[in-house]
Symmetry: C2
Subunit: 306 residues, 2 copies
């Protein structure tokens, strides 16, 4: 099948065709540039889901898929896993939890390994998001596996980023510490039937109240869910829709997507530049022994490169 | 005071002098290169402490400081916090918990903000580690605030990296998901008096048994602690010492430190290269709209740069 036929099949809901196209984008195979042009456009809501391990991200994603499917929307999920020596990148447990949707042609779920890709997470995942959007998916969920710089990077690919917390896993200050509070558009306190849930919600709201905002700026809502019982999901879907509506106003969505694309280009340029120089063992050893400092060593590498 | 006097004062235990020197290194002020040469050498055990928010990293670090102080060792702590809009980088809570050691001249604790530094975490923190080592600290602890790529990067600055887990925060598989299992030299199950601790230890050991190791390779021990009561700390200190002894054999420590220095140089070179090109709004918009793909856009930027 040629690219054009694969695209048509994928648009009609053929998940194997979708998988082949994502593979082309993910590995930057021949045809990736043509494919980008073939599928340009679309109008998906792109939702990032982040939070510490154990807060229930996959269960929540599964519940969200169910809610959007009831509205007749097509949902794509990109689960971004760091490649692991134990699993080779895909975490079976989560994929199993998403098995509810395994036979539904309106749902496409894909694990994206993050190691060894030129330009890192951003380049690969951003292109995959645009592909799914161009193929007619109404919602694209980007799920990450932890909280950290990589996750912040991924979350920034989304239009709307959810930060999941769970009671008893440290309170609001822990989210501040993880440095991810600032990137969240909607807070979700999951496992809300557990002891301490009220305290977590209270801490989050108290923290919010410390941030001064201009009129018209987005104020992050705090949603509570019990994802395993699909409780609170409708309110969360409504909050996501509200944020999307807010974004759509005053060109915010277009601005944000342009910034996102710029970040992807930069990631790729950085990766290419990184292949143009070499740090010798001798130079590294000189720094390790204190014979020179890092800045001087870097200057020497740059002089040799230019 | 000149650099030389500051170094002498810091070596004698003057913490304000130490603070001024760390500031020079952290901000790459004039004199940073000279300072690196002035303090080269030293023989510190560099210990990285990582783990999800809420597992008790700061409490454990405080307990470890106590144990090493009883042995008469000087201990430096670099607490790496992502800069936060709420706190400006330093998390008061933790520093307060470490207040036990506030009046002890043998202990120096410093929060390192991670945003906006040329070359990122690695460049700043690595230089600060070498500075403290050169000033005669026997142990340098690098504590990170979460688990993620940034934390992995930081942890790789340490000779010995501890991965903290706590029962009830997700089991072993969660650590695999966070992608940090592979960088740990010693596992620590903290809050070992909580329900589920035995299960967490069992999961970790089961996971370890899946990894094939050559004879002579390091086998990560699993320590259990109740840091808030200083329980299990002596065993943990012994495990850290054992890993250090293993590293010292067959040039492993020197190799590791050279690799670490190479990574720091690369981080700095990358940052410098990043300032040599610009991604225009028009190009970013073309990618966002699917008129071109990321790879083609990156090529165009590279052509303009070279």
């Amino acid at each position: 099948m040629g690219l054009q036929q694969l695209v048509e099949a994928a648009r009609a809901g053929d998940r194997r065709a979708t998988a082949r196209l994502v593979t082309i984008v993910e590995n930057q195979y021949e045809g990736a540039a043509e494919l980008a042009r073939l599928v340009k456009g679309g109008d998906a809501t792109v939702v990032g889901v982040t939070g510490s391990p154990g807060v229930g991200k996959s269960t929540l994603v599964s519940a969200l898929i169910g809610a959007w499917r009831e509205q007749g929307l097509r949902v794509g999920v990109l689960a971004v896993d760091p490649s692991s020596p134990f699993t080779g990148g895909a975490i079976l447990g989560d994929r199993v939890r998403m098995a509810d949707h395994a036979l539904d042609d309106g749902v496409y779920i894909r694990s994206i390994a993050t190691r060894g890709h030129l330009g890192g997470l951003a380049a690969t995942t951003g292109a995959a998001v645009r592909l799914l959007e161009g193929l007619g998916f109404d919602v694209v969920i980007v799920e990450t596996v932890g909280v950290g710089q990589a996750e912040v990077e991924i979350a920034s690919l989304a239009d709307t980023t959810l930060l999941l917390l769970a009671p008893g896993m440290g309170d609001g200050i822990q989210a501040v510490k993880a440095g991810v509070v600032e990137i969240a558009d909607v807070y979700v306190v999951n496992k809300a039937d557990r002891p301490g849930a009220d305290g977590t919600v209270r801490d989050l709201k108290a923290m919010m109240s410390l941030v001064r905002r201009e009129p018209g700026e987005w104020r992050q809502p705090v949603c509570t869910t019990i994802a395993s019982e699909s409780k609170g999901i409708d309110d969360l879907v409504a909050a996501i829709g509200k944020h999307r509506d807010w974004l759509a106003g005053e060109d915010r969505l277009a601005d944000q997507r342009r910034r996102r694309a710029a970040a992807e280009i930069r990631a790729r340029v950085d990766a290419a530049l990184r292949q143009r120089y070499r740090v010798t063992d001798a130079l590294a050893e000189a720094v390790a022994k204190g014979e020179t400092d890092v800045a001087s060593a870097a200057r020497r590498v740059l002089d040799d490169t230019a």
